[in-house]
Structures are given as C-alpha cells and as structure tokens.
C-alpha cells in the first residue's frame, strides 16, 4: 500500500507492506537518524514526533499514521544550524555514545513546545521513556534546563 507523510516539513510517499512499523519504514527510506533496538516501546531510541506528540515509532504501524506530520531530530536542527536543545546537549556533556540522544532530545522538544518552563520533575518525566545507558541522565537534565535558558534568551 501507499502512505503519505509530511516529514520535517517535506512531503513523501512510500510504498509499504501494511504490517510494517513506522521505525522500519523511516530507516529504510533514509531517515536513519531514528534509532531502534527494542521494538517494544521500552527504550525510546526510536522516538519521533507525530502530529505534535512524541511517540515510539517502533510501536506505531506505518499504515496507521498515514498523512501524519512527522518530526525527526533532523527536523529541529542540523549540523549547520543546531537547535538550542542540540547545542545544550553538546555543551553540557549530555552526549556520550549519542545513540539515545535523538530520541531524548525529541521528547524534550515536545515537552518544551507544550510547556516552556517545566519543573525538574516534569523534565524527568518527559524523558522517562528514553533509556540512556551512558550518561546517567544527570547531564541530560542539566542540558534541557540550559536549553530552556538559551530559548528564553533567544526570544
């Protein structure tokens, strides 16, 4: 079957097998910035933003979200123009292996869209589903707080 998405503000149509999950469809079509490994919705590495909400793309059937608007980490910033969240993660030592990072940043991004001034507890809850085995989370939380500062200054 054919599906259509708007990914990072561009239109795409893919021919897919109806049983495929969104994670695989994205990766097979070159969106390798979306990581994966558990396929159970438990690690959060595959997080993307679908119609404004962060979702684990391994638990979403590609067919189910036909016509959705999808944001991957490449949709919020690039090597040439990183988003303040991305800058903050670099600055605060919140990136070790970086495998969990796109998913975690997207969860934080979705939080800040809704709530630009979250408490520590709200930050922790927002990235609770994004497992990181390297950092121990402390610097990630510091980075998100630093990004909030950068974003307020930007305004």
């Amino acid at each position: 079957m054919k599906v259509h998405y708007k990914i990072n503000e561009k239109d795409y149509s893919f021919e897919i097998h109806p049983g495929k999950v969104l994670l695989d469809v994205l990766r097979e079509n070159g969106f390798t910035e979306v990581k994966g490994n558990c396929y159970m919705g438990t690690c959060g590495a595959c997080t993307v933003i679908i119609n404004g909400a962060p979702k684990t793309s391994c638990t979403v059937l590609a067919a189910q979200v036909n016509d959705a608007e999808i944001i991957t980490i490449k949709g919020i910033g690039s090597v040439l123009k990183p988003h303040p969240l991305q800058e903050a993660f670099i600055k605060k030592g919140a990136v070790q292996c970086g495998y969990c990072t796109p998913g975690t940043i997207l969860s934080a991004y979705a939080l800040l869209q809704k709530n630009p001034n979250p408490t520590d507890e709200e930050i922790k809850r927002a990235i609770d589903g994004n497992l990181c085995r390297c950092t121990g989370y402390v610097q990630q939380i510091e980075a998100i707080k630093f990004a909030i500062k950068l974003l307020t200054e930007e305004k």
């Binding site: 991305q86 070790q96 292996c97 402390v138």
Partner: protein, 769 residues
C-alpha cells in the same frame, strides 16, 4: 606552565553529528544487494546436534546461504577480544555441534530481506540429543557433574573433567597465622548475579568486499585490531585481506570486546561475494551476547582491637557459563583490583575458581571482576568495624594503601598471569573519604535510623581502586601529520565507544602542539589506516591511547621546532614555546606559525611531510581511587530501597576534560545502581532467560536517579598523559556495597546477594524479627 587545553571543558568533538542524527553508526549505512543474517538458537541448555536439515530453508527464493557447524570452519578459538597471547581458553567454534546453553546459535540464514531470513529459520529442522545440564557452579565442580566441555580440542582449560576453567591462588604471608593473631574475625559470603551491559545500540556488523576482493568489516566493536586478528584466525584468511572499520559506537561497557557477529558476517561475504549485515535485537542481546560473571565470594578478615587488619582471605567462585571467555582474567581482577587497597594486612590470600555451567556466556563488563570483589569486601570491612565498635571511616583510614607503598598482590597477580611491582603515587584516599563524608553528612546521619512512617533512612560508604590499562601488555600508537593551515590529522587506533576518547585525544595533541582542539582532526580507528591500539578496555583509553598520541605529538613538535630553529637561524630550540599555533623564540622574539612551517616544508624548502609517530606501553597501571557515600530510604512495608543522594569522591589523576569525566562517573554510578537494585537474569528450569526485554529487565530511567554528586580530587600521576589516570570503570563498584552498608545502617540487616530486591529486603526483615 599553565595548561591551555587540558582540564578545560572542550565540547565533545563528535557530539554535533550525534545530536543532529547524522548517519554515523554501523547500521546507518545501507549497501546495495545486502544480505541480512538471522540466527537460530538452541532451545536446550545442553545438547548435541544429531542432525540438522537446512534443505527446505535453502530452497526459499531469497535465501542465499544457510550456515551451520557442517559448512563453517571448525576452528576452536576464543571470542574474547583480548591481546596476544590470548589468556582465555580456546573452547568454541563459529557454530558448535554441541550446544551448551539456551541461546547458543545453531544456524544462521543470509537472505535478501530480514523477513525472508526469519521465514527460513522456521524451516530448519534440528534433531537434538538432549543431555543433562548443570547450572550451579558448586554442583559443576563435583566429580559426578555433567561435563560441559569434553572435547579433546579445547585448549587453555585447567581441568575440563571438573568443569574447571581456571584456578587462581595467590598468597602473601600466612593468613592462618594472621587470623590467630586477630582479636576479631569476620567471614561473609555474598553472591552477585548475571546482568547485561545493555548498550542502547545492540551489536551490529556490516561486511562487504572492496574492489580488490578484501573483506571490509564495519562493526560496532571496542577492539578493531583484535577483531581483525580473530576473524583472520577463524576464517583462515590472511590478516592483510581484512579491514576493520570502527564507526561511532552506541555504547559497549565491555560487551563489544567480543567477536560474535564479525566472523559470521565476513564468512557470508566471503562465500557469496555480497555485503552482509547482522544486527542483534534486544532479546538476542540478552540471550546470546555477553553478560557479567556471577560470582559467589567469601571474604574473611581478621583485625586487632585497634582496627588494624591482620589477615584477609578472599575466595571467588566465578560462573563463566558455557564458554570461558574472559573467565580467567575477570576472576584475576576480583582479587588484584581489590586486595591491594588494604595493604596493611600482612597476610593475604586470594583463591578463585572459574567454572563452566550451561548458562549464558559472561564476558567483559565495566568493573571487570572488581565490581564483584568489592560487593563483598566492602561489606565485610563494615562488619569488622561494627564488631570492633569503630566507625566505617576510621577502619578504612587505618588500613588503606598510601603513597609510596605497594602490595604483594600487585606483583603476584596480573590479568591472568603474574603482575608487576607497583608503588602508589597518590595520597588522596583520606581526602576522598573526608570530602565524601562531609558532603553526605555521614557522622550526622550514621546510626540515627531517621524514620518517617514506614520509611527509614540509612547511610553507607565504600572505598575502591581500579587500574589504568594492563601493564606491560597494553599498547597504543599514533601518527600525526601537519597540514598547511597548521591543523593536524591524528590517526590513532584507540576506540572511542562513546566515552569521549577522541575528544581527550584532541585535547592532548592540542596541548602539546599549542593549537586549539578544533584544529586537531581525529580519525577513528580503521585497521587499514590508523596504527595499532589494543582497543577500549581495562580503563586504558585516556591512559594508554592518550599516552600514545602524546608521544606522537611530542615527536611532531620536535620536528616542528627543528624547522623553526633553521628558519630563525638559531643554535638551539630548547626554550621555544608553542602557543596559539605559533612557535616563538623568547630569546630573539622571533615567531613563526605552524601554518608557515607546513607551507615551507610541503612546498618550498626541503620538501617533506612533517609527521609524528609514537607508541605507549606502560610499566604500571596507576589505580584511580574512589570513596562512595550513599543515603538511602528503605520502606519497611514494601521493601523498596530508594537512593536519595549519592556522593562519589574520585581521584583519577589530572582531569583532561571535567565535563566528560563527570559523565563517566555519573554514568557508571547509575549503571551500578541498576545492578544493585533491580537488574538480574531470571532463568526458567531449562536455563532459558525469562526476562530478555526492557519491561522485565529493569535498567534505571531518568526517574530512578537520585541526586548524584561527583567530586573530583585532582592528583598527578607521573606516568599518565599530563598526569591523568583512568575513570571509566571504577565508579560502577560502589552501589552494591555502599547501599548494602546503608541498608545495615537503616535496618540492621545484611543481604547476602544482589540485587537488593524488595522481596529479599522484606524476607530479611521478617527473618530478623
């Protein structure tokens, strides 16, 4: 002179690509005509494959190759990616006819799609002769026990008839005499569990033939050079025909110090001529990659009334599962990285047995045996203190090793062989203890059992050392070339697996050459291009690989100074300064930029490429030290232990990059908290892991993390680059003993195994009442 780059928070040089999702990991590239490999696993803990019929699977149109023991090289080898000569036994083949644990691979299918490979697996028919099994290492040591390995061809196993892979015995003084002299003697046995590294990127390998028919292996590994050597050995292909490329790695923690997908991928590529890809699922990562060696450890300490130890005896029984990879060396570290810490005891004995069972295969895991050793040792130290009515801090201060001192264990026990004589260069331990104690408020809280409803608070501490690389074995090397703009390319074999080693390297080179780290372009490990390095293990990155790039940078600097001297027309360059990309002669105030020097040597005069080379091998392995303190709250009604605050005071020598160092400390602590409180393999009766996923195997998430405070006490190690020692492993050792000691402080109970699950806590409370 003040450091310009060392000790500064330089941004991680690969972070921009990582935060923006550039295709940097192994599985982020896709090659045309790639075959996907999927594995079939043994459902039995011990069985001989009597027959395996792959004909139906082979008939599927998209299937290109089905591998079993029948059509793959039966080269007995070790999967441990260690140096040469290999200390682990040769006891496995790519596929074994005799399978020894649930999760051992039986066959592999290479097909055009993953789905087709998966389909084909279902068509493979295997006839097993199911044998009796043994799971318990004590059981396995008995004469009547099932023999896990009976084959004649295995090498490097002490006594296959007793399932005994290795036996270690190291003695100094006379422990029996020491116990007799003691006023109190305490003995305690503690058991640690199977656990998994859980790097968020699972094992992944891609292989293909280059235009000259050589095999290229792009793989998520900690040990590219050992991969090349072992694949060459297993496939009987000359080393020169193999190239191993290490992309960015999504975490390893030891699990990727193992050759488990590379040889299969390379074999498929060799047989079919096509690119091949094998990526473990999370479940496969649990059941078929590597785990931590579970151990049963008994520590006996004798002490005088004044707290001084008279003897320490440690016995470790290590379960190395179905294969002996890292078995000997991990068990060695259980003694060698713990016992020297209390060198005041004149009588010391360490004995270890490493035993085969029909359970999954442990390998290298951050902490590498020291974690298991400290889990028991640091609780027994508290038990001795309690008996003597001394506090946990004083007893450690009386007995710990000090600057200028040594321990007989250093010389007697290395990694799987004898060690080297070593003297401690750092007098930091008392400071670490004092700072940590103050920060947690140890003396204000200890013994107070502050209660809030059913919740009781407790504090506990533990003390640790580790090492930095394997002395007289581990080597790293580097080549650095100077470019026209004064930038340099650093080729080094070291393996950044997410720790930030490439950044540390850029800082070291930048410091030596007086240039900014962003003028240092670091090339990740590629066996065709970068020179040799033993890889990322044994806490050796900054120390050994960093030492190598420092040597190469000094070599290049000397050449630069020579050119500058000729340009300045001066007699010697002794006092020249390298600063901001310039060579300056303070005497004559003459100044030339590295860029001008490069232009001159490349294009104008005596044309040659300035290139520095260097290798580093260490005579010693300076230990970092760490004092851990934790405050916990334990709920007597639920048995749940909640860490409230965790303080780690750490001496890792000179800190090259404070933010990265903090990251290593916090990351290790959280990994250790998971190991202490929740992470464990649950096995069914047949030896199958029952919880191979993140629902049932709980690693900490952001909400499980207490307040964590790493405190760095800087010292200077004379053998390390700019005074640095290691920091990556040591801090995983604290959570089990520190939380265990805090639990005793809170409730007066001591558990004899990790993890400290609510069920165990409740049971212990009940037993006490």
């Amino acid at each position: 002179m003040e450091n310009k780059v060392i000790g500064k928070d330089v941004n991680k040089i690969d972070a921009l690509g990582l935060v923006t999702g550039e295709p940097v990991f192994t599985d982020d590239i896709k090659l045309p005509n790639m075959l996907h490999i999927k594995f079939l696993y043994s459902p039995h803990a011990n069985a001989i494959i009597e027959d395996i019929d792959t004909s139906e699977a082979e008939k599927l149109p998209q299937v290109h190759l089905v591998l079993t023991y029948k059509n793959t090289p039966q080269v007995c080898h070790t999967t441990a990616g260690q140096g040469w000569p290999e200390p682990s036994p040769y006891d496995t083949c790519m596929f074994n006819k005799h399978v020894r644990y649930v999760g051992e691979r039986v066959a592999a299918v290479a097909a055009e799609t993953e789905e087709a490979a998966q389909e084909a697996l279902k068509l493979i028919k295997v006839k097993y002769n199911v044998l009796p099994k043994v799971f318990d290492p004590e059981e396995a040591l008995k004469d009547s026990a099932v023999k896990v390995h009976e084959e004649e061809y295995i090498q490097g196993v002490v006594d296959p008839k007793r399932n005994l892979v290795s036996h270690i015995e190291v003695k100094a003084g006379d422990v029996e005499k020491g116990f007799k002299e003691a006023d109190v003697v305490v003995e305690h046995t503690f058991e640690t569990q199977f656990a998994q590294h859980c790097p968020i990127e699972t094992h992944a390998t891609i292989s293909y033939l280059d235009e000259n028919g050589r095999i290229v292996i792009r793989t998520s590994t900690q040990v590219p050079y050992h991969v090349r050597r072992i694949v060459s050995q297993v496939l009987s292909v000359p080393l020169s025909k193999i190239r191993v490329i290490k992309p960015r790695i999504g975490g390893g923690f030891g699990s990727k110090q193992e050759i488990i997908l590379e040889e299969v991928c390379a074999f498929v590529t060799l047989k079919t001529g096509k690119p091949a890809r094998a990526v473990y699922t999370r479940e496969e990562e649990f059941i078929s990659s590597r785990t931590r060696h579970p151990m049963k450890i008994t520590v006996k300490i004798g002490a005088k009334k004044d707290g001084k130890f008279t003897a320490i005896k440690m016995y470790a029984l290590s379960n190395t599962g179905a294969y002996g990879t890292h078995g000997l060396t991990v068990a060695s570290n259980t003694g060698s990285k713990t016992l020297p810490l209390y060198n005041k005891a004149p009588n010391v004995e360490f004995i270890a047995d490493v035993v085969y069972t029909n359970l999954p295969v442990p390998g290298a895991y951050r902490g590498y045996g020291a974690t298991q050793g400290y889990a028991c040792l640091e609780q027994v130290v508290d038990m001795v203190a309690e008996k003597l009515n001394i506090d946990p801090i004083t007893i450690r201060k009386i007995n710990h090793i000090r600057k200028g001192e040594t321990s007989p264990i250093f010389e007697a026990l290395g990694e799987g062989r004898e060690g080297v004589v070593q003297y401690i260069e750092s007098e930091s331990i008392d400071t670490l203890i004092d700072i940590g104690a103050k920060e947690i408020g140890f003396f204000e809280k200890w013994g107070k059992k502050i209660r809030n409803g059913s919740k009781v608070r407790g504090v506990g501490m533990s003390l640790h050392m580790q090492g930095s690389g394997i002395p007289k074995i581990d080597m790293g090397s580097s080549i650095i070339k100077l470019n026209e703009d004064g930038s340099v390319n650093v080729l080094y074999g070291g393996t950044d697996i997410g720790t930030g080693l490439d950044t540390v390297v850029a800082q070291i080179v930048g410091e030596v050459l007086g240039i900014k780290p962003d003028s240092v372009i670091v090339y990740p490990s590629d066996t065709d291009i970068t020179p040799f390095d033993k890889g990322a293990y044994a806490s050796s990155g900054t120390y050994i690989s960093g030492g190598a790039v420092k040597a190469a940078a000094i070599n290049l600097r000397d050449q630069i100074l020579k050119v500058a001297r000729e340009m300045f027309k001066e007699l010697d360059s002794k006092d020249y300064i390298l600063e901001n990309g310039f060579v300056i002669s303070p005497r004559s105030a003459k100044k030339v930029s590295l860029s001008e020097i490069a232009y001159d040597t490349l294009y104008v005069k005596k044309q040659k490429q300035l290139i520095g080379i260097g290798s580093f091998m260490s005579e010693s392995s300076p230990p970092p030290f760490a004092a851990h303190f934790v405050e916990i709250e334990v709920d007597e009604e639920t048995g749940i232990i909640t860490p409230i605050k965790y303080v780690a005071a750490v001496d890792c020598g000179k800190v090259i990059n404070p933010e990265l160092t903090r990251g290593q400390i916090i990351g290790a602590i959280v990994n250790g908290i998971g190991y202490a409180l929740s992470e464990e393999y649950k096995f069914g009766e047949n030896g199958r892991m029952l919880n191979p996923n993140f629902f049932d195997y709980r690693i900490p998430s952001s909400r499980d993390v207490p307040e964590i405070l790493p405190i760095i006490v800087e010292t200077f190690d004379p053998t390390g680059p700019f005074g640095a020692k290691s920091v990556s492993e040591i801090n995983i050792n604290g959570p089990i003993p520190a939380i265990g000691n805090a639990l005793f402080d809170a409730l007066g109970i001591r558990l004899n195994s990790s993890p400290y699950t609510p069920e165990k806590v409740l049971k212990a409370i009940r037993n006490k009442q």
